[in-house]
Symmetry: C2
Subunit: 214 residues, 2 copies
Amino acid sequence: MTASPTTCDRILDAAERLFADEGFHATSLRQITQAADANLAAVNYHFGSKQALILAVFRRRLDALNKARLTRLDAALTDSDRPDLEEILEAFIVPALAFTHGSEDAGHLFMRILMRAFAERDDQLHRALSAEYAHVMRRFASAIAVALPGVDEQCLRRHLDFIVGALTHTMAENGSSNGQAIANDLVRFAAAGLRSAVSVRNLDGATRTLEIHT
Amino acid sequence: MTASPTTCDRILDAAERLFADEGFHATSLRQITQAADANLAAVNYHFGSKQALILAVFRRRLDALNKARLTRLDAALTDSDRPDLEEILEAFIVPALAFTHGSEDAGHLFMRILMRAFAERDDQLHRALSAEYAHVMRRFASAIAVALPGVDEQCLRRHLDFIVGALTHTMAENGSSNGQAIANDLVRFAAAGLRSAVSVRNLDGATRTLEIHT
DNA sequence: GTCTATACAGTGATAGAC
DNA sequence: GTCTATCACTGTATAGAC
């Protein structure tokens, strides 16, 4: 069941489970290699460092998540001529929160790992991952820009940061409960927030008399 | 300049600076005590553990932030009879992002420490801090509930999580640039998101024919 | 009480033998 | 590729000096 063929995979599996259970910092390489029936030095041989091992554990699951996101985004875009904002947001949010309901091993572990990730990640990991998946963010930004014509580019980038922050914080906070309800809620919240920028901008351009807060 | 009177304060100052520069995990107690002209054991004597020292460093700044938030909230609530949603959100968001512009030592360090916090925090720290400042969240939740009559309680709690996540992620991502612009943006974004919940709920209760997404 | 010196078990990493 | 042995370093605990 847990006996994967190669040493590399056994280390990845053991590391994922231990990281999810105990946290990254609290898990030692000796624990991991012992659980994986491997030698201590094997980690540094195969991955280079503990940091790189953590990154590898993440990459394995985040690749799947972002592939699911892009697949759903493509479906939403080809679905109709004019992309629907809610569908785009669902393509980004639902796959992330969907693992929540999976009592499947991989899904459950992934969720707990993600909770750990945003509860404990260091910025090396953060930088590496956000660079690695920047193209995903760019694709969603483009799609939203089409669905919301007239939205300011810098404003859109900020709003995407808002959404990413809300999503990850909520995942870390709420664990594996109410995934679908939270997803619906966040989609509506984010859509309203995004649309508010466009309407304010339009009003501003049209009348120049809008009062700006503080 | 950096010579505070007591050993306790010197350790706190040195720890804050080193944590901001290098990160929590990467900074050793030996670095801290050396920079603070103190003995290694002084940390465990005064704070109990490295974890508790990290917590103490946070508490010193977060106390000030949350006091500023509550002061501004009180001002917004007594300002007029009916609380204004945007003013409430500003009371929560602006003080957090205001430190951004402070070239003052404390403000600048605080910002970088906060970036580290949400780039590296472990869940012990997270749990302790959110428990410690839960009353602040409760006060803001109550204020918003008054400003937005009819909003579902559970929904409001989720939305507050969205806002906290968006705020912290954005602070960690954008560093010390454009604080005021981001604050205005986030206030508008959050207000629109919050209002969307109320209008949807009202529509839902009134017509029962609203289509629910997916 | 406040602080110091010292010791300890455990960490990630690495060089070199097999 | 894999393993053993070893390194410098970590956070923590304690006994004792001021």
